[in-house]
């Protein structure tokens, strides 16, 4: 083996288009389930690419988000989010469990179901805007990202958290800056601005609590002085970022999957309600978003996994995008199959840190696709899939725009 073949490959890996994942993931998995890579920042890390070991790492509480010696930790990127360790090594597990139980009720299935009709109304408003854009310039493409994929999840998460939708231009540019992989000082400045913005909202709710998540967090502070204003601001900023960025990307990529082969669209249009649940799960499985390899963990002890010894403090990137296309679990893993069942993907993670917004995301996605394709059953892409620009310099990936003809 030459030195080049031996060298750890550096993230992000090249991929063909927005709907594919980098072929290098499968190649690495073919060599071993856990392999050495370099992060986008150039530091060493372990990349976990097999479904079995991805689930194993997620379940194993010897891996966490904190680091025993944070100053020595591998850096993932120069974004201000998910770029390095977070939390206190000694108390992480307890803190995480507590915070999860505080936040979970606001995202519970009964609450999300109750929100369903409202999400439908908000969706219809976005679809009206798409129709209006079309009517203003008939025959011209409409940008689905700008008129649906971005505003809908923002409207919903703003209401849940208690953030004014009118401020969206402000927090949109902050969200973009904190997630730039090479953002460096500007990302840090944006994070401080973002936290200051959230602190201001929290301060207002301290005097006038509302039925929203930021007010829930303020209430936690009353009982627990160790949950500082900074902790609260960082968590709230993270929730606002995660609450719209991830779902926006899934709406955009999901539409691309359905439109890149018009037989998929026509099949879905024939029976949206009957197919939506499985279609959404398949879109979640296939929509690959990570530019950093996967979700970040640090080993809290020496751990033997997948035939390698991961040392205490080593960074581990859990590649859910790769696990979701592992041939040992999913037959024809790169094929879009709206009948796939079972489809136990790990798009929301797995174990104690599984995405707290999964019910919200599923409710939004199950609402948006039937509504979209019922309104515009003949919708098609205005450009080829290869012409859709993938955002390679962003933490959560995604695409710049989805131009469609209605």
């Amino acid at each position: 083996m030459t030195a080049i073949e031996n060298a750890a490959p550096r993230l992000p890996f090249d991929r063909g288009n927005a709907l594919e994942i980098a072929p290098l993931y499968a190649e690495l998995r073919g060599r071993a389930p856990v392999t050495r890579v370099l992060t986008p920042a150039g530091d060493p890390a372990w990349l976990v690419t097999s479904y079995e070991h991805v689930r194993e790492v997620f379940r194993d509480n010897r891996f966490g988000r904190s680091h025993p010696a944070p100053e020595q930790a591998s850096r993932i990127s120069y974004a201000a989010l998910l770029a390095g360790p977070s939390g206190n090594h000694d108390t992480e597990e307890r803190e995480h469990k507590r915070m999860r139980r505080v936040l979970a009720p606001a995202f519970s299935a009964p609450r999300m179901r109750a929100l369903g009709d409202h999400i439908k109304t908000l969706t219809d408003g976005c679809l009206d805007a798409m129709q209006a854009a079309h009517d203003a310039h008939p025959g011209e493409p409409v940008d689905l990202t700008e008129l649906l994929a971005f505003p809908l999840p923002v409207l919903v998460i703003c209401e849940l958290l208690g953030v004014p939708f009118a401020d969206r231009a402000h927090f949109r540019q902050l969200s973009e800056r904190i997630a730039l992989l090479d953002g460096r000082d500007d990302s840090e400045r944006a994070m401080h601005e973002f936290m200051a913005y959230m602190s201001g909202l929290a301060e207002a709710k301290r005097h006038d609590p509302q039925p929203d998540v930021i007010s829930d967090l303020v209430a936690v502070q009353a009982d627990d002085p160790t949950f500082t204003n900074e902790d609260l601001a960082r968590l709230a900023a993270g929730l606002l970022f995660a609450g719209h960025e991830t779902t926006s990307t899934r709406i955009a990529l999901g539409t691309l999957f359905l439109l890149s082969d018009l037989r998929r669209r026509d099949r879905f249009v024939a029976d949206p309600d009957g197919q939506v649940d499985r279609t959404v799960e398949e879109l979640l499985r296939l929509s690959a978003t990570s530019n950093t390899g996967g979700l970040l963990r640090y080993a809290h002890q020496d751990v033997e996994i997948g035939g390698v010894r991961i040392g205490r403090g080593d960074a581990v990137l859990v590649a859910t995008d790769a696990a979701n296309r592992d041939t040992s679990v999913f037959s024809d893993p790169d094929e879009f199959d709206p009948d796939r069942s079972p489809n136990v993907h790990v798009a929301f993670g797995h174990g104690a840190h599984v995405c707290i917004g999964a019910n919200l995301a599923r409710t939004e996605l199950r609402t948006v696709f039937p509504a979209l394709f019922r309104r515009f059953p003949a919708m098609r892409l205005a450009v080829g899939i290869g012409d859709i620009a993938v955002r390679r310099n962003r933490l959560a990936g995604g695409v710049e725009s989805v131009p469609v003809l209605l």
């Binding site: 139980r101 936040l103 995202f107 009964p110 999300m112 174990g351």
Partner: protein, 65 residues
């Protein structure tokens, strides 16, 4: 079929309560899963099995009765 949830293992994901709302819900205080119907009627069994398989914390136990 008898259905139980290990509340210590439960991570409050609510996956079960979204999948099979006739059988599962979540506590209002902390989101932990609760079983509404410990011996669900046969028409719910498929969704209950699906909930068990998809549970991110493997916190749902099913026993044949």
């Amino acid at each position: 079929m008898r259905v139980t949830i290990d509340t210590e293992k439960c991570v409050s994901s609510g996956q079960c309560a979204l999948t099979a709302p006739e059988v599962f819900s979540q506590r209002e205080s902390d989101g932990v899963g609760v079983v509404l119907d410990e011996e669900p009627a046969p028409e719910h069994h498929d969704l209950v099995r699906q909930s068990e398989m998809y549970c991110p914390a493997a916190a749902i136990q099913l026993q044949d009765t």
